[in-house]
């Protein structure tokens, strides 16, 4: 062996040892049993199963930032995109249920429980609080021929499979609204999936699709600029900002489901910790700074906190999500 060879072998080994050591440092140290008085003793990780910069990520960062004001330690966002949310959900599912790893997401855990076999089960989690809400909305390009949702559904019913309706992706909560609309109006659309709301909006602007389903928050900027029109939206009542847009319910279409985002924790998390978390979420979501930033960003802050109340809500959404998945042939039992 030449000297150079020996030197390089030693260096390689040294590097391997150093990197392994550094790597081991990042493995979390044994969990300190937290009592009500002590939690949180270290930063809390809020796992966001979506790419940074997206709607869920932005809201997650805002609420994490706000919650950090009310806790002795920070709440830090960790993005874990992939598998339509499954990667991030599983990250929290296998973590220690000590209240230091939380999940920030929409109703996706419920969807994925029924849409993918045995990968996630939303019943392993408790929904602690909702921090934003949004309506699903039927939109058309500004020069589309339909002036009202009545005209739109009439044509979709008379010409089944002809009206091209875009949506942000198969299995997304937005997509699930489509079979429900079809159920109550008798219409049948030619569904065109896109990779997210942005490509859907681009396709609308370019006139490549006839209409789209999206959320008000995502499309607000384009609506305000007049490039896109909203025909009807989901929810119990009209939006203050858009008084001319009727709800689906007004039109006899029983789609009252809303798009929401909230914080989930493992159901095994100790009760005192859950209480502290709920209290913090309540304060954060109610704070003026959170509400102001959300509104300026075009989102709607919400503040429904309490795992028992939300349990009921989840039960209702469970059945409507299952039905929508079944109609789309996505249900896996």
């Amino acid at each position: 062996m030449t000297r150079k060879f020996r030197v390089s072998m030693v260096l390689t080994l040294a590097l391997l040892v150093v990197s392994t050591w550094v790597g081991s440092l990042t493995i979390s140290s044994p969990v300190v049993a937290a009592t009500k008085a002590e939690y949180p003793t270290k930063p809390i990780t809020l796992v966001v199963p979506m790419s940074p910069g997206g709607g869920t990520d932005v809201v997650g960062r805002m609420i994490a930032n706000e919650m950090s004001q009310y806790l002795p330690n920070k709440v830090i966002v960790l993005n874990k995109p992939g598998g339509a949310g499954i990667t991030g959900i599983q990250e929290v599912a296998i973590a220690e249920p000590d209240g230091y790893t939380l999940l920030f997401l929409t109703a996706t855990p419920i969807v994925q429980t029924y849409a993918t076999k045995k990968r996630v089960n939303y019943k392993d989690f408790l929904l602690l609080g909702l921090v934003d809400k949004d309506s699903f909305v039927l939109v058309v390009p500004k020069n589309a021929k339909w002036a009202t949702s009545d005209e739109f559904f009439k044509e979709a019913k008379e010409k089944p499979g002809k009206v091209r309706l875009g949506h942000p992706g198969v299995g997304t909560s937005v997509h699930l609204v489509v079979p429900m609309l079809e159920k109550y109006t008798g219409a049948k659309f030619q569904q065109v999936p896109f990779a997210g709301s942005n490509p859907t909006h681009m396709a609308l602007l370019g006139g490549h699709i006839d209409a789209g389903i999206t959320t008000v928050g995502d499309v607000a900027a384009l609506v305000k600029a007049g490039d896109i029109r909203m025909l009807a939206l989901s929810g119990e009542s009209r939006w203050k900002e858009y008084p001319d847009v009727p709800t689906f319910k007004e039109k006899g279409i029983d789609v009252g489901i809303l798009h929401w985002r909230g914080i989930w924790a493992r159901k095994e998390t100790p009760v005192p910790i859950l209480d502290i978390l709920e209290e913090t979420i309540r304060k954060a979501a109610n704070s003026q700074s959170y509400r102001d930033t959300m509104i300026k960003a075009g989102k709607i802050p919400d503040n429904i906190v309490g795992r028992t109340i939300l349990q009921e809500r989840l039960k209702k959404e469970d059945s409507s999500i299952k039905e929508a998945l079944m109609r789309l042939n996505l249900l896996q039992e």
Partner: protein, 502 residues
């Protein structure tokens, strides 16, 4: 004149000392991040996003934008020096840039790359300032059929990328297409070839594959040939490009800038396609196409200009519609939202100081990057003087850190190792990696576009030929595919004639 007014607003916003500092910090971080393989501007921006909370929106966007185009400059460094693309768009730079480095011409390669990027970046900023709205409207015309046609045309360009056998290049492209199919089906949600792994739910990631094929495989090949061999020629010709280099690079830079700018506007298109397209075009119109792949400076100048120009183009859909053209722009969008600004068609009207400030600062950032990168060239070149037995473990560590830093997923390291071995075998048998990478990245877009198009046309295939833009690209693609076949057939027929006459 309107433009001068806006320029004035922009400069007054951007030349604020605090903003200049943020611009500098952004481009510095961007360069560093671009150099580190795997860790791209996406990771850097998402890490720094929380710290921009307390800044005003304009400063925040200036800094984040600086990271983005800074990363494009930095990404070329490692491509040229150690054949590892620091950024996905720098893959093409590896082809000729690394060969130039091995011939002792790393200095001119780095220099042309820096200058080319500067020129392209500046022109694309001008384009952004002057023709955003009409360009954005043009981009809207690209629906699924147009995307399919564009990528189909892009794949036909692959043939011209091949240095050696076209057949082998096509084979590698097909392997790339297959790899691109792995993952979750876009429409039905079915899993394909994921082997029960969570990591493969989204398919084989591009970064582990590229690290393996380019970085690890290169190291393996060099190790096989003997660790004490001088991988790089130790005497250096010169540190900066000379007049002849400039003469040869002027055209590629100009063409690369235009290609990059237009392709950068298309969401999902971006820097990668534009750098490949530029390379292929330069090779096609060159008088010495056989030199490509052995260290032709045109193969560095063109793609580098293209990928930097694409960054300017990528801002356009964001700033005019509020629609991000790629992941990095999505992050910038998120940053805007966190600061209470709703990006959309009204952004220019409601926040002119933000828009023009960002535009002006992009130009300033490009200047800073040039000043930053040029004096570093002698320093970078010294790295090549490190004895290879010491250098290669560092390269491997680099790759390891790069891949792991993405998702903290050790499965991706295994993928990188597998592709390292595969890449080594490919090199032994003369198969090229570039077509594979190109096809891998484009396959998902290609397939999705195809299926969406058929949904739009209710199953009618003619949709690709009845829409003007789509027809143009399809026709070009078909011609490009058919041309080599036609020429070969003709040549064979000519060769046969004299023999038959005997």
């Amino acid at each position: 004149m309107d433009f001068l007014d806006n320029l004035f607003i922009g400069l007054s916003v951007a030349l604020d000392p605090a903003r200049l500092l943020f611009c500098f910090v952004g481009v510095l971080i961007g360069t560093l991040v671009g150099i580190l393989p795997g860790l791209g501007p996406t990771a850097a921006i998402s890490l720094l996003l929380p710290s921009t909370f307390h800044l005003d929106p304009t400063s925040a966007i200036i800094m984040l934008g600086g990271i983005y185009y800074g990363a494009m400059y930095g990404g070329s460094m490692t491509s040229i020096l150690v054949n590892i693309p620091g950024e996905s768009a720098s893959v093409v730079t590896c082809l000729d840039g690394y060969q130039m480095a091995r011939q002792g011409r790393a200095g001119p390669a780095l220099g042309i790359s820096a200058f080319g990027s500067f020129i392209a970046g500046t022109i694309s900023v001008l384009g952004l300032a002057l023709i955003s709205p009409p360009l954005a409207r043009f981009a809207l015309k690209f629906g699924p059929p147009e995307y399919f046609a564009l990528i189909f045309c892009g794949l036909s360009i692959l043939i011209y990328l091949a240095s050696a056998s076209i057949l082998k290049a096509v084979m590698m492209a097909l392997v790339g297409l297959f790899l691109g199919l792995m993952g979750t089906d876009f429409v039905s949600g079915e899993l394909r070839f994921t082997f029960g792994s969570n990591t493969l739910l989204d398919g084989v990631g591009m970064v582990p594959v590229v690290m393996g094929l380019f970085g690890v495989a290169e190291v393996l090949e060099n190790l096989e040939k003997g660790i004490n061999r001088n991988v790089f020629k130790t005497s250096f010709d010169r540190l900066f490009p000379n007049a002849e280099d400039w003469k040869r690079s002027a055209g590629p830079i100009a063409r690369g800038t235009v290609i990059g700018f237009f392709l950068g506007i298309l969401p999902g298109g971006g820097a990668l396609i534009s750098s490949f397209a530029s390379y292929a075009i330069e090779k096609k119109i060159s008088k010495h196409p056989e030199k490509f792949g052995t260290g032709a400076i045109e193969g560095v100048a063109g793609p580098e200009a293209a990928n930097n120009s694409a960054t300017g183009g990528a801002f356009i859909p964001l700033l005019t519609f509020g629609i991000p053209a790629n992941v990095v722009m999505a992050l910038v969008l998120g940053a805007l939202m966190i600061h209470g600004i709703q990006p959309g068609p009204l952004l220019i009207k409601q926040h002119p100081d933000l828009f023009w400030g960002v535009v002006a600062s992009m130009y300033i950032g490009n200047v800073m990057l040039l000043i930053l990168n040029l004096p570093m060239i002698p320093l970078w070149v010294k790295i090549l003087k490190i004895p290879y037995p010491v250098l290669f473990p560092l390269i491997l560590l680099f790759c390891l850190v790069g891949v792991y830093s993405l998702n903290n997923n050790y499965v991706e390291i295994i993928i990188m190792a597998l592709f390292g071995i595969f890449g080594y075998l490919m090199k032994k048998f003369g198969y090229e990696a570039a077509p594979l990478v190109f096809a891998l990245v484009l396959c998902p877009i290609l397939e999705n576009a195809f299926r969406q198009s058929l949904m739009l046309s209710y199953g009618d295939l003619s949709i690709f030929f009845t829409r003007p833009i789509s027809l143009a690209f399809m026709a070009t693609g078909i011609v490009l595919f058919a041309l080599p076949v036609f020429t070969t057939v003709r040549r064979r027929m000519m060769e046969r004639l004299p023999a038959e006459q005997d």
